[in-house]
């Protein structure tokens, strides 16, 4: 069993099964929409988890990349008549280029300094989006052209459920492969000790930059998808609070765990919907649940539970 789970196809297969299984339990389009939002958030969180959980580098500006992806599918079709898919691709390429340029100097920093530098970068993107109203619609946001594929207009929460679910499975599959590759091993090595990794012949700067660019592209693709699902973008998805939300999802679900990314995203997207019944106490209860999770399951939901069951089996 343990061996089966550690296979690098296990996690994407589990996620694929979950996507298919949950689709049978959906009472209405509203549930499809919430689930689609979970898949999209999870995609961005997997990317960030590669950076935080595996390489041990923090980013407080990932919403900036998310925003670039989201605004690419809003602005490019509206201004230049590009197809939304081409726009999403262009957004991903632009994100990769920006992450590459920004990452080189920023990733030389460590710890708090790195956190502050990424934070500054994220705020810069959010401010640009808010201020260039002629292009982005400013703080009020702008509409996104609906996606059409071969003359078929993509719409409906259930359709997006499958599309975003598919993207999540692909994202998880790529992430699992990356983790199992030499780059993945290099990342874990530098997470434990940069000096040791360097002594072992790993090009630390290059490994960090690679994973930074990859995780930025994850955020960008998730941003593009969300913009297409919503048909509307606002700058709040690029702002600091959303960056924090993504980091919280990573930590809550479990650093260095792909399934943990999904669990973290699921909790932070689904709980607010469940808790609306509590009205004024909603935020208090949400905060309380998050605190309890972090106190009881210190390593995050999935790694802590996995360790717990592993321990029981070994007894």
């Amino acid at each position: 069993m343990g061996k089966l789970l550690s296979h690098r196809l296990a996690v994407p297969v589990v996620i694929a099964l979950l996507v298919v299984a949950l689709s049978f339990a959906m009472p209405s389009n509203f549930y499809y929409r919430v689930a689609a939002l979970v898949w999209i958030s999870a995609l961005a969180v997997i990317g960030l988890n590669l950076l935080m959980g595996y390489a041990g580098q923090v980013s407080l500006g990932h919403a900036g990349f998310f925003g670039i992806g989201a605004y690419a599918v809003a602005v490019l079709p509206a201004q230049f008549g590009l197809h939304p898919l081409v726009a999403a691709l262009a957004g991903a390429v632009a994100t990769a280029a920006i992450a590459f340029l920004v990452g080189r100097p920023i990733l030389r920093l460590k710890g708090h300094y790195l956190a502050v530098a990424t934070l500054g970068f994220g705020i810069l993107i959010a401010m640009t989006i808010s201020n260039e109203a002629w292009l982005t619609g400013g703080p009020d946001g702008m509409p996104v052209e609906r996606l059409t594929l071969f003359g078929w207009r993509v719409r409906g929460a259930d359709t997006w459920y499958w599309i975003s679910g598919g993207l999540l499975v692909i994202g998880a599959w790529i992430a699992c492969n990356l983790v199992a590759s030499p780059t993945g091993r290099a990342l874990r090595a530098l997470h434990d000790s940069e000096v040791a990794a360097r002594v072992a012949g790993i090009d630390v700067a290059r490994a960090k930059l690679t994973v930074f660019v990859i995780s930025a592209v994850y955020a960008s693709v998730a941003g593009s998808t969300l913009a297409l699902v919503n048909g509307f973008v606002t700058p709040d998805k690029a702002n600091f609070l959303h960056s924090i939300e993504l980091v919280t999802m990573v930590v809550l679900g479990g650093m260095g765990s792909i399934l943990g990314s999904l669990a973290g995203a699921a909790i932070l997207v689904v709980l607010p919907q469940v808790l609306t019944g509590f009205h004024d106490y909603e935020h208090m209860i949400l905060g309380l649940i998050m605190m309890v999770i972090m106190i009881v399951l210190r390593a995050g939901i999935v790694p802590s539970l996995a360790a717990f069951f592993q321990g029981r089996r070994n007894k």
Partner: protein, 384 residues
């Protein structure tokens, strides 16, 4: 594998809880939905709106409801997050199966929700300001607040009447400020007024003296307008006084709350601004056709909540009443029939003014909706 079993069971549990919450209510109620920014950066909009809706739905129900049925109000808090608002919009349509929706506190949340209601054919009365909501006209979308363009027009009309032709403009870079600045620039030419200085400030700036000095030095300056919102306009007003600028200062409806006078202090003396009649409810002449409505709403709101009335809550009152009257005229709860009747609203007297809707105009307000106010001895007075 046990871990995943646990995960899936957990997810099923969550879904189960959610379903219990969404349990269907009795069939003989009329469900009305609302997604408002009750918390978060726009809570000053959403909070009075939610209170107003709850208060008046309770009142209507106590009086026997609408068409012999009780109203059931479902309010969600989107905390001004467009993505959340979109999710709640889907929830209202798919899960709660409401017949109509009031609200969307901000332009961002409103624009994110519009496609959901247009697709589902559910009438939607927004409480947000921007003109893009109803221009171009969308079949199922309406709104109750006046637009920022109308505020500009009201200010410029007042200037024109006083023979003012050269003005300075200072505005913030926030959403409201920016949108209003653009609308002002668009219509200013119609009033033969020229903007000789155009300055901006950041949302958290604490001193606007440099920008105001630039404006002060502009040749032939006759007045200054400050399309702004939040604390910025109060600081502008204080700096304006400190720099001893002699020409009149115009603020926008964005500062139409008592806290502006408190923040700006003595410097607010003589400042003019367009605002809803609600602010001066008690000072309206008795023969004013709007007096009864605004006085009734102001007293009810202040009695129930113990807080001073705000124009934003008034927008929610207008939205709810327009909807209720449309449902009464339609005599049914069919969303399409309600939509048709909302569009036929005419002569409705709300807190924002007289509403006359048409297939081309889904807001139905004109410039008389605004009153030009002047601040005198720390209070609003009618300037007209």
């Amino acid at each position: 594998m046990a871990v995943f079993g646990k995960c899936i069971r957990g997810a099923a549990l969550l879904a189960g809880v959610a379903m219990v919450w969404a349990a269907p209510a009795a069939a003989d109620t009329i469900k009305i939905g609302a997604s408002l920014s009750v918390t978060g950066p726009a809570s000053f909009l959403g909070d009075p709106e939610a209170k107003t809706l709850e208060m008046y739905v309770e009142k209507l129900n106590a009086e026997g409801g609408v068409n012999g049925k009780q109203l059931e109000l479902i309010v969600y808090d989107d905390s001004a997050d467009a993505n959340k608002a979109r999710t709640f919009a889907t929830r209202l349509v798919e899960d709660d199966e409401v017949v109509a929706v009031v609200g969307g506190s901000t332009t961002g949340t409103t624009m994110a929700m519009i496609p959901v209601f247009e697709d589902a054919g559910i009438p939607f009365i927004s409480l947000a300001g921007a003109v893009v909501i109803i221009d171009p006209v969308k079949e199922f979308t309406f709104k109750t607040p006046h637009t920022d363009r109308m505020a500009c027009e009201k200010i410029f009309a007042d200037m024109q009447a006083k023979g003012i032709a050269r003005i300075g403009m200072i505005s913030g870079t926030g959403g409201f400020d920016k949108s209003m600045r653009e609308q002002c620039l668009e219509v200013v030419g119609n009033y033969g007024i020229e903007i000789v200085a155009d300055e901006t400030y950041g949302p958290s700036d604490s001193d606007m003296t440099p920008q105001l000095t630039n404006i002060k030095n502009a040749a032939g300056l006759q007045a200054v307008v400050n399309p702004g919102f939040g604390q910025g306009p109060a600081i502008v007003t204080r700096n304006y006084k400190q720099l001893d600028i002699e020409v009149p200062l115009y603020q926008s409806h964005g500062v139409a709350s008592k806290s502006f006078i408190d923040l700006a202090g003595d410097a607010a003396e003589g400042v003019r601004l367009p605002a809803s009649a609600l602010l001066v409810a008690d000072k309206l002449p008795d023969d004013d056709p709007q007096k009864a409505v605004v006085v009734e709403y102001k007293t009810t709101y202040e009695e129930k909540t113990g807080q001073p009335v705000s124009t934003f809550g008034g927008h929610a009152y207008d939205g709810l009443m327009i909807l209720v009257e449309a449902m009464k005229r339609a005599g049914s709860e069919d969303p399409k029939a309600i939509r048709d009747e909302i569009e036929k609203t005419s002569g409705f007297m709300g807190t924002a003014g007289v509403v006359n809707m048409s297939p081309e105009d889904h807001m139905g307000l004109d410039l008389t909706a605004f009153r030009m106010l002047e601040i005198r001895s720390g209070d609003w007075t009618l300037a007209e």
